[in-house]
Amino acid sequence: MHGPAPAHAQPGPATWIRVLVLLTIATVLEVLTYAFESTLGALTAPILILFAIAKFVLVVAYYMHLKFDNRILTGIFAWGMLIAISIFAAMAALYHIYGQPLLTP
């Protein structure tokens, strides 16, 4: 869709600042979520994860230009992430769902 776009067709500092503002807001909200952990209860973890994903995507899409760059690059990075995350999830299941308790030393 974007084709082999050269690195030059990118937005400028205005966008970078906007992204920075969003990143800062997300970070503040993250820390607030942490601070209100007791009120949020079981919601804390998903909220934190959501904010982290938002920040992650902002940096990758804008600062790292993936949004404007060749789709192949998105594919490569996404596959790396996908495999890493799936293995991570499988491990979490192995240790926290199916794992028998380890002996306490």
Partner: protein, 201 residues
């Protein structure tokens, strides 16, 4: 690391099948691979999370306001480096050097913060050997710190090169690849900050 450096060859008119430069393609591929590196470190941290049989425990040590600031410092460095890139693209060498130096300083500030954090923890009794928290925490954040350190050295070299005409607007692609690495180190910290520091037990 070494591979990344190798990417920095001299600018050549290269024709590629995809239109993506070799260096850029390699850096993204390397980053995909690095996802598995940090992924493995992080899941080991998680598998052991809470299996801490001796003090000190994370809740007694972690200083969230402090770390929030250093996380913000690293985020800011992502911003400054993208500004440096834009300056380079616009052949504004002065702006480029300024933003780049800013990035280096922010990175150094982050590392200094991490050094301070490590020594504080150490004085409170957390060592590599004290318990599994010490082991997994220091190794995970330490490997991240090493990535930052390599990034700083790399940026520093490029900053110096710019004074000798070895880094010019003609080398924008090469510098772009460096910024990819730098941002990646930042996003890894986004994840670590969330999982290690903020995630409730």
């Amino acid at each position: 690391m070494s591979q990344a450096h190798a990417a920095a060859s001299h600018p050549v008119e290269e024709h590629t099948t995809t239109g993506i430069s070799h260096n850029r393609l390699m850096m993204w591929t390397f980053l995909a691979s690095d996802c598995m590196f940090f992924g493995s470190l992080i899941w080991v941290y998680f598998a052991y999370r809470g299996r801490y049989f001796e003090p000190p425990y994370p809740r007694d040590l972690l200083d969230i306001p402090y770390t929030s600031v250093s996380a913000a410092v690293l985020l800011l460095s992502s911003f400054s480096i993208v500004m440096a890139l834009t300056a380079l693209e616009r052949a504004d060498m002065k702006g480029f050097r300024g933003w780049l130096l800013g990035t280096i300083l922010l990175g150094a500030l982050f590392l200094g913060g991490q050094y301070y954090e490590f020594t504080t923890f150490y004085h409170e009794g957390l060592t590599l050997t004290s318990n599994l928290f010490g082991t997994t925490f220091f190794v995970l954040t330490g490997f991240h710190g090493t990535h930052v350190f390599i990034g700083i050295v790399w940026l520093l070299v490029q900053w110096l090169l710019s004074y000798f005409g070895k880094l010019t607007p003609a080398h924008v692609e090469r510098f772009f690849v460096t910024t990819l690495y730098w941002h990646f180190v930042d996003i890894v910290w986004i994840i670590i900050f969330m999982l290690v520091y903020l995630m409730p037990y």
